[in-house]
Structure formats: C-alpha cells, structure tokens
C-alpha cells in the first residue's frame, strides 16, 4: 500500500461510517460556506451569535464521530497562523476583547473546514467543484496536488527513515542541516516527478 491515511474518513474500503459522511458532498460544501460566511459576517459584539454557531458546529462534530484528538492535533497545527493574525489585535485599544473574538471566529472557521474535509472525500469535493463550473485548471491542479501529496509524503518518510538509520549524532544543528538537505532533495525529486507526470499525461493525449 502506497498511501497514508491522512483522514479518518479515508478507510480505503469506500465504506462511510458516520451519518455526516453519507450526506451529499455538494450539500456539505454549501453548508460549510454558509457557516463560514455567518461567522465572518457576525459583528464582534454578537458573541451570543458566535456561541450559537459554535454549538451548531459542536453538534455536527458529535454526529461526525471524528476522534477529538485528531481534530485537536490538526487545529494546533494551524494555530500559529491564527495567532499570527489575531496577535496583531492586541496593539489597539480594547485589544484583549478583540483578540478573543478574532481567535474564536478563526477557530470556528477552521473547525468548519476540518469538519468538511474530514467527512467528505476530497475526490467528491473535486467533482462538486467541477459541476459548479470552477475553472478546469484550478480543479486539475487540486486533483494532482491531492494525488501526489501521498506520493510525496511516502517519499519524505522513506528519506526520513534512511536519514535516521545513518544519523549517529544527537546534535540538533546537524539534524537541522540534514533536514534542510532532505527538504531540498524532496523539492528536486518533486520537480523531476512533475516532469515525468507531464510526460505520462502527454503520452495519453493531454492537450
């Protein structure tokens, strides 16, 4: 087996486990858009409104049966970005409250997208985008990105293992240097692979 199971919905057997996973992708995408727009458009003072939206998302999360640790891990991964933006709010009058509201809004938006991406196979979302007349170049780029994310992840993991098996020093500096070379190598390999994929596409009549 080549790929990693990046999402809990990705059982590899095509079986959909929670009720939310069985809902049509188009409906879920529209629902997520409405939720995100509501969160963004609610004024800062409407904390009650935000809490209601939060309760709706919490309810959906419960129905989705996504393991809590899985969500928290992904949320923490994105948190530096949120902090980077929200942190700037501290420097204005009444910054503390604004910071809290922006943090709440951003995290609710993130939870909504996590909910969507963890209950909807990416391929279904792509099909919806195609049906919605999203430009083909955008859909193709997303399709290829999704397809080769797994290949690249596998490649990075193989390189990490190979590096670990010959890493005899515990020095942090060396580890960072080695990591930098792995990232560089990965970039070179990815661009070479991109060329081979393009060739394979041309060989089957890509215009």
């Amino acid at each position: 087996m080549g790929g990693h199971h990046l999402h809990p919905h990705d059982h590899g057997d095509g079986h959909k486990h929670s009720p939310l996973e069985r809902w049509p992708a188009g409906g879920k995408l529209a629902g997520a858009l409405i939720l995100v727009l509501t969160i963004v458009l609610l004024p800062r003072s409407a904390v009650t409104g935000l809490l209601i939206v939060g309760a709706v998302i919490a309810g959906l999360l419960a129905v989705s049966q996504i393991p809590l640790w899985h969500l928290v891990k992904r949320l923490l991964l994105l948190e530096p970005l949120v902090l980077g933006v929200a942190g700037l709010m501290w420097f204005q009058p009444g910054g503390g409250k604004i910071f809290a509201v922006v943090m709440l809004k951003a995290n609710l938006c993130l939870l909504t997208t996590l909910l969507l991406s963890n209950t909807t196979p990416f391929t279904e979302l792509l099909r919806v985008l195609q049906r919605l007349w999203v430009p083909w170049i955008f859909v193709t780029t997303l399709t290829l990105m999704h397809r080769y994310l797994f290949v690249l992840a596998d490649e990075a993991e193989r390189m990490r293992r190979a590096r670990a098996s010959r890493t005899f020093t515990r020095g942090r500096r060396w580890q960072w240097l080695a990591l930098a070379s792995v990232v560089g190598q990965l970039f070179v390999r990815a661009s070479e692979r991109a060329e081979r994929i393009y060739n394979a596409m041309c060989a089957r009549g890509w215009k």
Binding site: M1, G2, G14, R147, F150, R193, A200, C202, A203, G205
Partner: protein, 248 residues
C-alpha cells in the same frame, strides 16, 4: 508496412550526455520485442522518442516512423493514439484519484462519447484483471495493481503499438508471472524495455541489446541470450530459464 521504423536516431541530453548514437531498427506489426541493456544504456530515452516526448523540439526528420508516419509536431495526436507508453513508475502514470477516472483519461482526451468511454474503461479493466476496481483510489492500490491499472489506462486508448518500460520491476514472483501471462494475451505490437530476462525469453521472439546508446545485437532472443560472452560484456547474464530450454 513496418509498425516502427527507426533510422539513425541520435539524441543528446542538455547536459551533453550522448544517450542515443545512431539507432536503426524496424518492427513488424504483431512482433513482440525485448529491449535489453544495462542501466543508462538509452532504453528509456529511446522509448520516449516513440511517443514524441523526446526530442524537446520535434524536427519531423523521419528518424522515427510509426506505421510509415514520421513523428512530428503536426501529427503528434495521431502518433500518441497509435503508440501506448507504459511508464516505469506507476505513480507517475496514475495521476487521477480513482482507477476509473485514470483509465478514462486517455479516451476522454480522444474526445470519445461518455458511453464509449465507460465501455472502454470496463473492457480494459477486465483485460488486465481489475474488473470491479473502478471506484478504488489509485494511491491505495498495491504495486501490482498499480501496474495493471497503468496498462488498462493505455489499453483504453486501443493503441496499435504498446511500449513498456520495465513493466515487471518491483513485482513479486506471482505478480510477475501474472503480468507476463496478461501481456501475452494483448494483441498489440509490443516493445518491452526490461531487465527481466525470463520475460524476454518467454514473451519475445526477438531481442535488441542496447549499450552506450548503440545497438549491440538484434536477433532471436534464445540465440542472443545464450551467448554468455555477449551477455556479460553488456551488463547482462544468461537467464536460468535457458538451461531448462536447452539442457546440456
């Protein structure tokens, strides 16, 4: 008419490496030919020329002809319709999310009707023993299944010439056996670049040995592969299977 006709084909990579130094040979329709040679001998480079993927700027000089037509920019679509190329790394070739979408890619590019595309997908998947795999995600397939899916994607375009680059590398013995049995059933003209010498003996009546971008030998597979001196001189070896065919 020859299915493939190559006359004095030369190619030099941008870094100056001379990959092909005056290759010439002809392939008749229906032939199955093994292309042998050590790593870096120019096998893959040669295969890319058959599909017009190399050279970067097609001159249309007639060094490569497919069914009499020189490979040139103006008839590239027709050439690629006739020549199906199966790449060495299945992950390069399976670029769509699901098996059905990937197999349908070629027929879609040919501009076929939806019903015809669906029929071709079904037929080619059955041909390679992957019936029922339509909805499977390509990155979740085993290596052997990926190989088969690649072949199905090419077969769906119904090419007259099938060009395969190391089709059995990384396959386990059973996978190799099954893949060879399947290849035998395909009616197209086949040119197979491989290090699998048993495949050459079992499937290909004719073999071309390539080294340093030149044709070293072109003849009957059993005769060439029995020549131990020739084999060893070009990074190859006499396969064990020949001991069974010609016991001492």
């Amino acid at each position: 008419m020859n299915a493939i006709e190559i006359t004095d084909l030369k190619y030099r990579y941008r870094d100056g490496t001379e990959a092909l130094r005056g290759i010439s040979f002809r392939v008749l329709p229906g032939e199955c030919i093994a292309l042998l040679g050590p790593n870096g001998s120019g096998k893959s480079t040669l295969l890319l020329h058959l599909n017009g993927l190399l050279p970067e700027k097609l001159s249309g000089d007639g060094a490569v002809k497919i069914y009499g037509e020189p490979v040139a920019a103006k008839n590239l679509e027709q050439i690629r319709r006739q020549v199906g190329l199966v790449f060495q790394d299945p992950d390069d070739q399976l670029f769509c999310p699901t098996v059905a979408e990937d197999v349908a890619f070629g027929p879609q590019q040919l501009g076929l009707a939806e019903t015809e595309i669906a029929a071709r997908v079904k037929k080619s998947l059955a041909q390679v023993g992957l019936a029922g795999f339509e909805g499977r995600q390509t990155h979740h397939l085993s290596h052997g299944e990926k190989r088969r899916a690649c072949l199905a994607g090419v077969m769906a375009c119904e090419p007259a010439v099938l060009v395969l680059d190391e089709p059995t590398s990384d396959l386990d013995p059973r996978g190799r056996r099954e893949f060879k049995a399947m290849l035998r059933t395909l009616p197209a003209t086949k040119l197979i670049a491989t290090h699998d010498l048993e495949l050459a003996v079992e499937l290909c009546a004719r073999t071309i040995i390539l080294d340093h971008g030149q044709i070293i030998a072109d003849g009957r597979t059993v005769e060439l592969l029995s020549d131990e001196k020739l084999m060893l001189a070009h990074g190859l070896e006499r396969p064990h299977i020949l001991h069974h065919l010609h016991p001492h």
